[in-house]
């Protein structure tokens, strides 16, 4: 186990941004945290990296880590090559050659000032810098936001490649399709709490959709024009005799995050 988070809490004043969450990231695993805006994903990552002080709980990190922040802010007045020089000095076991190869692949001019790079190019630059650090855990906050689909797929491939080398990845994303594509396990957060966690296959196989006119013990996904309601519920908790449809991961996410829990 590379990372263990136990009962982590972080308050901003009275409000709990992270409210007693626990999870573990295993070696060689990609663990994704999903959730709507304000769910507490970024705060969780910042507590793990030490950028924010936790109020309580335990964070056990067994190895080195690096972090890609959500905003991907770099020094606008520095040139790309100067940023690389900075990472050579402060980066964690930084591989300059690898970084230069990545930047050449995406045709990022080393003499260009960061301020002249588009958001996507800045993200590529930051990702290239982070991928060129040799650490045990890569903590990536929305790593593919703002990238075109081709580059996004290549970057996801790079994320996957990290795990082939025994590295672990903890990342957040809004894009469910990409999470389905690469994550080994996920945690869905809402209002500072982890609502659901597990491997994608386990989650998908244990939940199903049930259409009913009656109120059921599950997450309300939607109400049909006919007045019938579609519930996401654990297959084992579904009433006998009802038809259970397979739920996509998007259905599960939507129902849990946006739906109302109906505990009869």
């Amino acid at each position: 186990m590379i990372l263990k988070v136990k009962d982590l809490r972080k308050f901003y004043g009275e409000k709990a941004a992270v409210d007693g969450i626990s999870f573990e990231v295993e070696k060689g695993e990609i663990f994704a945290i999903l959730g709507p805006n304000g769910a507490g994903k970024t705060t969780t990552l910042k507590c793990i990296t030490g950028l924010r002080r936790k109020n309580s709980g335990e964070i056990e990190l067994n190895g080195t880590f690096t972090y890609l922040p959500e905003e991907k802010k770099l020094y606008p007045y520095l040139r790309v090559k100067e940023i690389i020089d900075l990472f050579e000095k402060i980066g964690k076991d930084f591989n300059k050659k690898n970084c230069l190869e990545l930047l050449e692949r995406y045709r990022i001019d080393l003499n260009e000032k960061v301020t002249n790079l588009s958001h996507g190019m800045r993200t590529i630059l930051y990702l290239s810098l982070v991928f060129s650090e040799n650490v045990d855990l890569y903590i990536l906050d929305e790593p593919t936001w703002g990238l075109d689909p081709l580059v996004r797929n290549e970057m996801l491939e790079n994320v996957r490649t990290l795990t082939f080398e025994g590295k672990s990845v903890l990342y957040t994303s809004h894009v469910l399709a990409e999470v389905e594509k690469i994550a080994d396990r996920v945690a869905i957060m809402k209002e500072g709490k982890i609502i659901l966690t597990g491997s994608l296959d386990d989650i998908k196989s244990s939940y199903g959709l049930v259409v009913s006119k009656e109120d059921l013990n599950g997450y309300l996904l939607k109400t049909l024009k006919s007045g019938e309601k579609v519930y996401l519920m654990k297959k084992e908790e579904a009433p006998e005799g009802v038809e259970i449809e397979e739920a996509t991961f998007e259905d599960i996410f939507k129902a849990i995050v946006r739906g109302e829990r109906n505990d009869r």
């Binding site: 950028l51 880590f65 922040p69 020094y75 020089d85 402060i90």
Partner: protein, 248 residues
């Protein structure tokens, strides 16, 4: 990392340095005009200039190189700029990284302690270097033009200016650490400088607050020097404590 810090402060540093160096050059050039100034001042009604401390003796003495440099460079131009120099160099040190969120990039890769040490001391050392050059430049110039300068007094002024730089640098860094943008520490530091100068100037019991009376007189006496140095140490400590525990 130190190279990056130098790049960060390059513009501010060079502007302030050459502005002050230019002021000194101008001051040296103006020296030749002091006899003409003396003649001109004779036409001013008697008693008017005395109100501002400009006596006939003072005007007479201005034509002496040593008196002219000590009063006009150390006791006026450079001395007045010393707290401003410290504030201009220090205000964005942390606030800019916090405002631009680049502090995250650094904190993930460096310990808070190391980052604080580099960010605090690298600009401070370079400000001292600038001060050394600016405070000592009259010495070789005096030698070059064959004039005498009281070097003992020059070094006394240098020490007083170093203490003043450290004091205002540490106060401004503290504001820089606790702020979320660059404007806040600049305004807070200048307001503090103005407030303490006015208070110290008008209220006799609070005269120690007026750092200008200390730096312009070159008054290297024990208590003010000790009080200012210790205040600088306290603000350095407060800056570190705030930086150590702050959320980013």
């Amino acid at each position: 990392m130190i190279v990056k810090e130098l790049k960060d402060m390059k513009v501010r540093f060079l502007v302030m340095f050459f502005l002050l160096l230019g002021t000194f050059v101008l001051l040296v050039v103006m020296k030749d005009y002091t006899p003409a100034l003396t003649e001109m001042l004779k036409n001013i009604p008697e008693g008017f200039l005395e109100k501002f401390g400009v006596t006939e003796e003072f005007i007479k003495k201005l034509s002496e190189w040593n008196f002219y440099i000590i009063t006009q460079w150390y006791g006026k131009n450079l001395g007045q700029f010393v707290p401003i120099l410290a504030i201009i160099i220090a205000f964005p040190i942390f606030a800019r990284e916090i405002e631009n969120e680049t502090i995250e990039l650094l904190l993930v890769r460096l310990s808070r302690k190391k980052l604080f040490i580099v960010k605090f001391f690298a600009p401070l050392v370079f400000t001292f270097v600038a001060l050394f050059v600016l405070a000592l430049v009259p010495v070789p110039v005096s030698w070059f033009i064959g004039e005498k300068l009281d070097t003992g007094l020059v070094f006394r002024y240098l020490l007083v200016e170093m203490i003043t730089i450290y004091l205002w640098f540490s106060i401004t860094v503290f504001f820089s650490v606790i702020s979320s943008d660059q404007v806040q520490p600049l305004i807070a530091s200048i307001a503090t400088l103005a407030g303490t100068t006015v208070l110290g100037g008008f209220v006799k019991t609070l005269s120690t607050l007026n750092t200008y009376s200390y730096v312009l007189k070159g008054d290297l006496t024990l208590w003010p020097s000790l009080i200012y140095t210790l205040t600088g140490v306290v603000f350095t400590y407060l800056s570190w404590k705030s930086f150590k525990t702050r959320d980013f």
